[in-house]
């Protein structure tokens, strides 16, 4: 088991940033500023040329990061630099192909070495977990499972084998849910809680302080993706302070 559970001692704020957007020095600063602002876990994107399961905001971040030639060897170097300053919980968000090409064995060894405790891989569903499980287990890296609102049998099947935390993506957006459409959320979370003890985090376009306050009451953690990436898109190399202010406000209400 990884160090992920440390991030969930209280309600966890999980902040996403794309490695190398617009270049790795900025990413390093953003990670450190998130740690300083009280973020509990950083979800670090590894850029991919064809991110099929992302919002257009995150798709564009992938392309900006590739423009600055951000690949795994340099990403691990950057994390080593970060580790001189903070031991904040870090997980990767990546498509499987960059990991496959880097080599599973070496990738998970490097995760262990740089204290990356988990991997979120959108194109590696439950059915294909065996692809990496052996290597992840050996190096105590959690394969984070996605759950979407489908049938209960499937949700329970995934939850039973899940480790680290559950990455729950509701079918409706955060704005809609704030209007009172929360039955789907509470139903799925209840089902998960009946099946597993590991924490449940929600990621679906949470943006405002009000939303952070509201949804962090419903789950063990919330994931902020688009909102942070938009700040980095806007401020580029000067993003760190802006991200700091933004996530500090969110954390203050959780």
């Amino acid at each position: 088991m990884s160090n992920i559970k440390n991030a969930f001692q209280n309600k966890a704020l999980i902040g996403f940033v794309m490695a190398g957007d617009p270049e790795l020095e900025t990413t390093k600063e953003v990670i450190i500023s998130m740690a300083n602002a009280g973020v509990d876990m950083v979800e670090l994107g590894i850029p991919f040329s064809d991110p099929i399961a992302e919002s257009s905001v995150i798709q564009s971040a992938n392309l900006r990061a590739l423009k600055s030639e951000t690949y795994l060897p340099r990403i691990f170097e950057m994390i080593k630099e970060v580790r001189k300053t903070t031991d904040i919980s870090i997980i990767f968000h990546t498509y499987i192909n960059p990991v496959f090409n880097y080599g599973y064995e070496e990738f998970f060894q490097m995760c262990k070495e740089t204290q990356v405790g988990g991997v979120v891989i959108p194109d590696l569903p439950f059915e294909e977990k065996q692809e990496i499980k052996e290597y992840a287990d050996k190096n105590e890296v959690d394969i984070i499972s996605f759950v979407v609102p489908t049938d209960g049998a499937r949700i329970k099947m995934i939850a039973k084998e899940a480790s680290g935390f559950i990455y729950f993506v509701p079918s409706i957006g955060a704005t809609k849910a704030m209007e009172g459409h929360t039955k789907e959320l509470t139903d799925v979370i209840e089902m998960l809680k009946q099946t597993t003890n590991i924490p449940v985090a929600i990621g679906f376009g949470i943006n405002t302080v009000q939303q952070a306050e509201f949804f962090s009451k419903m789950a063990d953690g919330i994931i902020i993706g688009n909102a942070i990436v938009k700040i980095v898109e806007k401020y580029g190399k000067d993003s760190a302070n802006h991200v700091f202010d933004y996530v500090k406000d969110l954390k203050s209400v959780m």
Binding site: F48, S49, D50, I52, A53, S56, Q59, L63, L66, Y71, L72, I96, N97, P98, V99, F100, N101, Y102, P122, D123, L124, P125, F126, E127, E128, E131, S145, F146, V147, V148, T150, D151, R154, I158, V169
Partner: protein
């Protein structure tokens, strides 16, 4: 689990949000492929609407001119909508209808699969939206208009390289959003299981007919069967019923663009490596970091950085071989077949014709080649004229 794979290739590498839907398609297909009513309706559509069986045509002039093996052309270009794509879309659109879907979406490169899908949707009364890279909508503007004429909405994709792979990305995203009433009609033997199997099964009618036709005409099996390969659906259809005939050589012709020594090609097997993308473990054009490479071919239909997993398996086990054919060779073949046989082939199919031109003279006169003529070339005429320096107003 192994049924999702061809050797080590294939699988279901797709987002969780699509998994329940892909399982539904898997179950529905398992059921309907043995359902008499479904099969009867599909057979009737193929016979009475698509115009099957397609001819196996002896290319006498080409054979005499090249002075080697006898060359037969499997005339998929004579199908309704002008290519082999109709075989698959009628099957999948019918499956969508049996599954109770109201809407179909599809990706397209050259526009052939898009036109075929729009056609099937019009016939079966389904709503239709086609995803096409912006660059391809310009290269194939006639087909865009054709699709619109057939009642489809054409969605120009502006992300990334704006070609086929981006159209697939966008179609998958849309499918994830609306799978409850929408079926994704994949155009090639690629993507997550069961698509490579479904598309291969629907396309295997090509080799089923060709095998019977050649046995009837020549009294023996061919020595070589060949087809062009992008994702590989016409090739898979052309190969499938010959796979167990160990003496029949199977050759796929990949798009080498400006040449495999340049970066401007789409020769996946010749230049690519194993990877995981678009739902499948297969062979892809990619860099050493696993970033999918921009590919190029004069043919929009072959301009795809991957190949179907069953092809990767046939290559891996040595059952089929794959050869690169350049733009220049394909254009020569396009012009050659037009002049020698009075048949204007699709620029995609011209890649296979080009390799047949090379191979036939090296073979004996008692030997036989079947080339899959996967589509007709009307759609390419203006582009070829331009390649030769003549601007034509379409």
């Amino acid at each position: 689990m192994t049924k999702t794979r061809f050797g080590k290739f294939g699988g279901q590498y797709i987002p969780e949000i699509l998994m329940p839907e892909i399982k539904k398609i898997e179950e529905a297909y398992e059921f309907y492929k043995n359902d008499p009513q479904f099969n009867k309706e599909l057979s009737e559509l193929l016979l009475k609407y698509a115009g099957r069986p397609s001819l196996l045509y002896f290319a006498k002039n080409m054979t005499e001119d090249l002075g080697g093996a006898k060359i037969y052309l499997k005339r998929e270009d004579l199908n309704h909508t002008g290519s082999h794509k109709i075989n698959n879309v009628l099957g999948q659109a019918l499956l969508a209808k049996y599954m109770g879907k109201k809407r179909v979406i599809a990706e397209t490169g050259a526009g052939q699969h898009g036109v075929a899908t729009a056609t099937a949707a019009a016939l079966l009364g389904l709503e239709c939206e086609i995803f096409m890279g912006l660059e391809d909508t310009i290269r194939q503007s006639l087909n865009v208009y054709r699709m619109e004429l057939l009642g489809a909405k054409v969605h120009a994709v502006t992300f990334g390289t704006q070609t086929l792979k981006d159209a697939v990305n966008e179609a998958m995203t849309e499918w994830a959003k609306r799978s409850e009433d929408t079926m994704y009609l994949l155009g090639s033997v690629m993507g997550p299981y069961p698509y490579p199997t479904i598309v291969r099964d629907f396309q295997s009618v090509i080799s089923k007919e060709a095998r019977e036709q050649i046995l009837e005409t020549e009294g023996k099996l061919p020595d070589v069967v060949m087809a062009c390969v992008g994702g590989g659906s016409n090739a898979m259809g052309m190969f499938y019923n010959f796979i167990d005939d160990k003496d029949v050589k199977l050759i796929g012709c990949e798009a080498a663009g400006l040449g495999v020594h340049t970066e401007k090609h789409a020769a996946t097997i010749t230049k690519g490596s194993v990877g995981i993308f678009h739902g499948m473990k297969s062979i892809f054009c990619q860099d050493k970091h696993g970033q999918i490479a921009p590919v190029y071919s004069i043919s929009a239909g072959l301009d795809y950085p991957g190949i179907g997993p069953e092809h990767a398996h046939l290559y891996d086990t040595g059952r089929a071989s794959y050869v690169p054919v350049t733009d220049e060779e394909a254009v020569d073949a396009f012009e050659y077949l037009s002049k020698v046989e009075g048949i204007i082939p699709a620029i995609e199919s011209s890649h296979a014709v080009a390799y047949a031109k090379k191979l036939a003279p090296t073979m004996g006169k008692d030997e036989i080649i079947i080339v899959c003529l996967s589509g007709r070339g009307d759609k390419d005429v203006a582009a070829i004229a331009k390649y030769r320096g003549r601007i034509i107003n379409e």
